[in-house]
């Protein structure tokens, strides 16, 4: 299907931008709850936020199946064009999942959990949230955090934080999460405990 009439450009400098974004993602997961920025000079096609688009462009390739929720369906053509990634028809078939309609977030257990031998074969979730601030009501602790990190995330259903301890308990299996808003992102690996 020729869908090239609605394509948006990707990174202006693909190599450097991908490296910069990867570095940001790495820092975000190494210091859970720390909010980092990606380069705002990216023409992300709505409804994708810049950070969501940047993570996709940096991390997706021809072998990483991507699942998109109802609100982000139009991004499929964008990522297929720039990254060559397959689009997963079902949640369980994805290595990466991008969601903006967070009330309709499927249970975490439905995403790929990885295995004991290959825990990295799990899904990474990129959740585009309504609000992402330091010093919020959430208290994060665990590897990479000295003491406690405070974080505020808006738009998630309450069920997400109720499910999260089960994700912790599944270690080494489980999923990892990025929250994105605008050109900022933060990481929540499966090892981080959260008190809401």
């Amino acid at each position: 299907m020729a869908t090239d009439t609605t394509l948006s450009p990707g990174f202006a400098e693909p190599v450097f931008a991908a490296q910069h974004t990867f570095r940001a993602a790495l820092m975000a997961l190494a210091h859970p709850g720390r909010i980092v920025s990606v380069d705002p000079a990216l023409e992300a096609p709505p409804p994708l936020d810049i950070a969501t688009a940047a993570l996709g462009l940096a991390l997706l390739d021809h072998e990483t199946a991507l699942w998109l929720d109802g609100r982000l369906q139009t991004a499929a053509a964008y990522f297929r064009f720039h990254c060559g990634c397959p689009v997963a028809p079902v949640v369980g078939g994805a290595q990466f999942a991008m969601l903006a309609d967070l009330r309709a977030l499927p249970p975490l257990a439905e995403f790929r959990q990885g295995s004991d031998e290959y825990p990295d074969a799990s899904a990474t979730l990129i959740l585009q949230v309504d609000e992402l601030v330091e010093e919020g009501p959430l208290q994060l602790s665990g590897p990479g955090i000295a003491g406690v990190t405070r974080l505020g995330v808006g738009g998630l259903a309450a069920g997400f934080w109720r499910d999260w301890p089960a994700n912790n308990a599944a270690f080494p299996r489980g999923v990892d999460v990025f929250f994105t808003r605008g050109s900022r992102l933060c990481g929540l690996p499966r090892t981080t405990s959260v008190r809401s």
Partner: protein, 154 residues
Amino acid sequence: MSERDHMPNDLTERRRRWMGVLARADRAALERTWNALPEQPAYRHLRKAESGLVMLRGRAGGSGQAFNLGEMTVARCSVQLRDGTVGHAYAAGRDLRKAELAAVFDAMMQTTAATQIQGTLIEPLAAEIAARRAVIGRKAAATRVDFFGLVRAQ
């Protein structure tokens, strides 16, 4: 398979042909044509020129089980003209500038500039490709074994 098999599309076939010619072109020929244009169109990159790989396939026995034969380097580029026309190029090799020019010409071939580009670039290149193939054919034919040749007795 491709759309083409279900909906015979003359434009698709013509585009296939000129893209194949551009893929085989010398970068120098593309640069010459570009520099000789009375008006060089403005364009922006949708996907900057990059090189990558395509895994080539063969078939056992020529028509049986498909298998991965090995990879080939490929340069590709996607551009958009001011009027919104999108041009794509994929060519064997790693010549990024060639891929960029080929993508621009692919876009121009979808506009009113087509006739000019067809005449000054596509047709001459296609003729060169055909001529090269014809020479190979004649050289090969000269090495065909003639088991029953008669030699004039002297």
